[in-house]
């Protein structure tokens, strides 16, 4: 590489890192505000609307409050781990974004700058590896807190994250097979401009499994068993206060944002949208593609919020059931079916149809087996209509 190219690479990388990290941090604040306002809207109330226009500065006020709170370290904790744990959760959440392509590319002064911090050829492995590190923060934080509620939260979290990590990894194998690449940029590019070419249609069951596992990875309702404030007070961060608690809080939102960008890249066509990303010159097309990516991520984040304020929480064993008995078989079947049909027909349409049909069959079989194995309820006189309220005199 020539010196000038090296310089351009160096400078542009620093610029991109600065921009993306700040966007991520601002995104976290925006998400906190959006979550509170959207939940308010869903629940017939206002939500925070006092600080700044429509309450947009509320997260800053909250952040300041956290900074000024006393940073209490209880006597009974394992101090080094206790202090380290929030960072161990926050850092993996933040560095995952490095391999996610957030737009096509911008050409400045003849130098093409891809809109991605690092286009490494094993990008997807990097994502899986780094996100799975996050569980250490939760488990060690819970363990170091020396609190029974924290411990239970940490145990739940580790079991949950490890189980769903499998689904997360297996669900994307079909995508990788059709793309023949592990690079996130190439996966996004291979999907093309039109929604009917995007991976979420070709690998629909895998898409659902991946999204569900993503929810579980981010510890959000209906999978927020690790916190479950009605059961475990605050779960793994019960003993944390001040900025340390805020870091756990930020990590959750950062995981959401990063998770959304990964889903958008893998399944929702990345920065493509009906060829809109090709309009304009070398600079404008790059910016437009970034805008498209941004909007797609925002829509997906809205789904995160929507689900959280709609669904109740799973129980620990039900969560494991869902992960091991439904999502994992669906993901495994998806691999077999995608591979077989792709070799036999080389047609994306047939792969897509085959995936949906096979997933349907698998879920039916598993559900049937579970129904057969379920023990009868304790009381014998339950009839078919037992779920209906019976009005008698």
């Amino acid at each position: 590489m020539e010196n000038s190219q090296l310089l351009v690479f160096f400078l542009s990388s620093i610029g991109k890192i600065l921009i993306i990290v700040h966007l991520l941090l601002i995104g976290v604040m925006a998400m906190i505000w959006a979550e509170r306002r959207v939940s308010g809207w869903m629940q017939d109330r206002l939500g925070p609307n006092r600080v700044g226009f429509q309450g947009i500065l509320q997260p800053i006020a909250d952040g300041l409050k956290f900074l000024f709170k006393e940073d209490l370290i209880p006597d009974h904790v394992d101090k080094p781990l206790y202090v380290l744990a929030p960072a161990m959760l926050l850092v993996p959440a933040m560095v995952t974004i490095a391999v996610v392509p957030f737009g096509s590319s911008i050409t400045i002064l003849g130098n093409e700058i891809p809109l991605q911090i690092a286009d490494i050829n094993i990008g997807i492995l990097y994502v899986l590896a780094v996100t799975s590190l996050g569980v250490y923060g939760v488990v060690l934080g819970a363990w170091a807190s020396n609190n029974k509620y924290s411990l239970l939260g940490g145990l739940r979290s580790s079991a949950q994250m490890i189980s769903y990590e499998l689904t997360l990894g297996l669900a994307i194998i079909g995508v990788l097979m059709l793309t023949s690449s592990l690079s996130l940029r190439e996966i996004a590019m291979a999907q093309g401009s039109y929604p009917w070419h995007w991976n979420f249609l070709i690998h629909f069951p895998a898409f659902l499994a991946f999204t569900t596992a993503m929810f579980a990875e981010t510890n959000r309702l209906p999978f927020d068993l690790a916190e479950a404030e009605q059961e475990l007070v605050a779960g793994y961060h019960t003993e944390y206060s001040s900025m340390k608690f805020a870091m756990f809080f930020m990590a959750e939102y950062m995981n959401m944002i990063v998770g959304s960008t990964v889903v958008v890249t893998l399944f929702l066509g990345g920065w493509h949208f009906f060829g809109l990303e090709n309009i304009g010159g070398p600079v404008w097309s790059g910016l437009i593609s970034f805008g498209i990516f941004f909007v797609k991520t925002a829509i997906f984040l809205f789904v995160f919020i929507w689900v959280r304020w709609t669904l109740p929480r799973f129980r620990y064993d039900q969560l494991m059931n869902l992960g091991w008995k439904f999502l994992l078989p669906v993901a495994l079947t998806s691999i077999v079916v995608t591979g077989t049909l792709w070799i036999m027909t080389n047609s994306r349409l047939i792969v897509g149809i085959g995936n949906v049909v096979s997933a349907f069959i698998v879920v039916s079989i598993v559900a049937g087996l579970l129904v057969m194995k379920t023990p009868k309820p304790a009381i014998q006189d339950s009839d078919e209509n037992s779920h209906q309220p019976l009005s008698t005199q």
Partner: protein, 398 residues
């Protein structure tokens, strides 16, 4: 997934569930022994909200004590007011005017709806459905506005008096209530959409906290919790009071006695309460709301200021030792409060204050059944069961 409670791997962990815990509404405490997440043994403790309500009855006169009853089940104070004065009236053998009974029934049923709305919201919140809680609170808020206009207070209603009511209902009460009756089923429908066929909700509530009909009777469960187990027992039907026999309503009965059935029974009870209120409003008689006896109820202001008889009685009924004085004797009178059988046992020595007041709160009996329901379940089931029982610490610890 239920594990065999006898199969312990390693040493069980003792977890203090409460008294300061988000799921123990009020201040309850359950000491649970855990094997992993499975509850091996649960020991409920009470007394964290002890207020001496029963003892206060010996130092307050009969009308003053109404104020105390507000604070017992703080989700439905009007039902407590109602149950208490009914007991005193039974002791004194007073027949209150028909209009008074109808108004009491309307308010008791409305407070049943308010109570169930909060129960629904808090129960759903415990299982993570936050939005349902706010939907429930919104309806309760509308009811509390009606209560506030009627009684002057949202929570501390103290609306009933021995032999009548504090005052008649306000003009426009009927329209307000009818508006509420026409709108609240919509919220229930939304909640049904959100929860009733929701897979997660069903998984969390079905076959959780099961109590068979025999066990429910043995434990002394009453109200929706008893009916969810399949026992068709409602004091409004079984031992009607205050013209309940004249209203046409159904008593929903469950089959499995699990959390899900308790949820469905309470949901249906709100609709049935709406029917009762509707009928009571349609047939609301005119006339006075207080008994025509100045030894029992306060004279009207015209009488108090207009003639000497009224003035004297006005003073006497307020003065210590000259007011309401039931004959010596004892009485037990139970009403179907939103949570179940709310009974007042009053012993009178013929003076202006009760010799002893003993309360039979539904929550007390429900709390003793908690270990039976949660042992063998998981930590998450504790909150589901506690939520479904609607244990109110105020009446639990009198």
């Amino acid at each position: 997934m239920r594990k065999d409670p006898n199969r312990v791997s390693g040493e069980p962990m003792t977890l203090n569930f409460g008294p300061q815990h988000p799921a123990t509404h009020g201040t309850l405490r359950i000491v649970v022994e855990l094997d992993g997440e499975t509850v091996l043994k649960a020991t409920p403790h009470l007394g964290y909200l002890h207020t001496g309500f029963e003892k206060l009855g010996e130092h307050h006169d009969y009308n003053q004590y109404i104020v105390v009853t507000d604070r017992m089940n703080y989700l439905s104070p009007l039902s407590n007011n109602f149950g208490y004065v009914l007991a005193v009236e039974k002791l004194m053998d007073i027949q209150v005017p028909e209009r008074c009974e109808y108004v009491r029934v309307i308010l008791a049923e409305l407070s049943r709806i308010a109570d169930h709305m909060i129960w629904l919201g808090m129960g759903a919140l415990d299982l993570g459905a936050f939005t349902v809680m706010l939907y429930g609170f919104e309806e309760r808020e509308k009811l509390y506005s009606i209560f506030e206009k009627t009684t002057g207070a949202r929570l501390t209603t103290s609306y009933t008096r021995v032999g009548g009511l504090m005052r008649d209902i306000y003009d426009g009460f009927e329209e307000d209530v009818r508006t509420f009756l026409s709108t609240f089923p919509k919220t229930l429908k939304e909640v049904h959409t959100l929860l009733t066929r929701n897979r997660i909700w069903m998984d969390r509530t079905k076959d959780v906290g099961v109590v068979s009909a025999e066990d429910a009777i043995d434990y002394g469960l009453t109200g929706p919790c008893l009916r969810a187990s399949g026992v068709d027992w409602d004091l409004r039907k079984a031992e009607p009071y205050s013209y309940y026999e004249e209203f046409d309503f159904d008593v929903p009965v469950g089959t499995n006695g699990d959390v899900y059935d308790r949820y469905l029974v309470r949901m249906e009870e709100m609709i049935q309460s709406g029917r009762i209120v509707q009928q009571a409003l349609d047939n609301l008689p005119d006339g006075p709301v207080n008994v025509d006896d100045y030894k029992i109820s306060l004279p009207t202001k015209e009488d108090a200021y207009g003639n000497i008889e009224g003035l004297i009685h006005h003073f006497k009924i307020i003065m210590d030792g000259h007011g309401v004085q039931p004959p010596a004797g004892e009485v037990y009178c139970a009403t179907e409060s939103p949570n179940g059988e709310l009974g007042f046992y009053i012993v009178s020595d013929g003076s202006g204050k009760a010799y002893r007041i003993r309360i039979r709160p539904p929550s007390f009996m429900h709390f003793q059944a908690v270990p039976h329901m949660i042992e063998g379940g998981m930590v998450s089931d504790i909150v589901a069961v506690l939520g479904s029982l609607n244990i109110i610490a105020g009446e639990l610890d009198r």
